[in-house]
Amino acid sequence: MLKEYFGVLLFAGVAAIIPLAVFAVSYLLSTKKDTPEKGLAYECGMDTRGETWVQFKSGYFLYALIFVVFDVETVFLYPWAVKFGQLGLFAFVEMLIFIAILLIGYWYAWKEQVFRWK
């Protein structure tokens, strides 16, 4: 069974090599003339003002939290999805109830205007 995972290893290896190769090519081919402007953080071509390391609104964090909840839901969906063919109608109804319970949370977040951008 473990032999099947060599594909994953190969995939990870290639995924690691490609960005390194891109950096290597640009390092070898680019002209190396540093100006202060080149060291600036890129912000749509505008000059940056003040600190680039700023504090974000807590509104972003709620998106992350709700993402985590539904990420955990994926963990429960995964075995069900793999064995969907053999599990039958009963498991399908169970999973519908599972998703419905979590949709209450989604509805609550919606009602509390978590997704509204102020």
């Binding site: 069974m1 473990l2 995972y5 994953v8 290893l9 600190e51 390391w53 504090q55 974000f56 807590s58 972003y60 964090f61 709620l62 992350a64 939290l65 709700i66 993402f67 985590v68 909840v69 990420d71 955990v72 839901e73 994926t74 963990v75 429960f76 995964y78 075995p79 069900w80 793999v82 064995k83 599990l87 009963f90 498991a91 169970e94 999973m95 109830i97 599972f98 998703i99 319970i101 979590l102 209450i104 949370g105 609550y108 977040a109 509390e112 978590v114």
Partner: protein, 170 residues
């Protein structure tokens, strides 16, 4: 090369990545770099799970520890005000001795119990992917705990929303 040799090489390779990225996560001065190395460490632990034939656990490790936890840490870094990226992960040199003592004691306890226990590994590892049995058990015998997991998640989500919005005016 024999299967055992390949297995051994893979185990030590993955363990080295886990440990080195964990060390980098602790020692790097930029908090975002530290968080990225922590994510690498978490994902490599999934490799250890794969080597132990725990395929479902490996998938969970990648989904939760590779996806969700680094996102939360990154958001945590973004939300806190620090003077800059360079010194955002300072080292506390005052408590080095304490840290060394406590981790040393923990290491000793774990090693002692590892050396004393006998591992009956033969016959425990099943050849079929663990997800098959898990799906059958989770949606069959353990139906009620499964649905309770949904309620637990719901409670966590609503609690997080209430806590995060507590300071804001309605």
């Amino acid at each position: 090369m024999s299967n055992e040799a390949v297995y051994g090489i893979m185990f030590y390779l993955v363990s080295a990545v886990v440990l080195l990225s964990a060390v980098a996560a602790v020692t790097l001065r930029n908090l975002i770099h530290a968080a990225l190395f922590l994510a690498i460490s978490f994902v490599s632990v999934a490799g250890i799970y794969v080597l132990l034939h725990a395929d479902f656990l490996a998938a969970v490790q990648v989904l939760i520890y590779g996806g969700a936890i680094p996102v939360l840490i990154a958001f945590g870094v973004m939300l806190t005000r620090t003077p800059g990226a360079a010194g955002s992960n300072p080292v506390n040199t005052k408590t080095y001795i304490w840290g060394l003592g406590i981790t040393g004691a923990l290491f000793a306890v774990i090693m002692l119990s590892l050396l004393k226990s006998k591992f009956a590994m033969q016959g425990l590892i099943s050849k079929e992917p663990s997800i098959e049995g898990l799906a059958r058990l989770m949606l069959g015998d353990f139906l009620i705990p499964f649905e309770f997991a949904a309620i637990l998640l719901l409670a966590a989500m609503i609690g997080a929303i209430i806590l995060a919005r507590g300071g804001e005016a309605k």
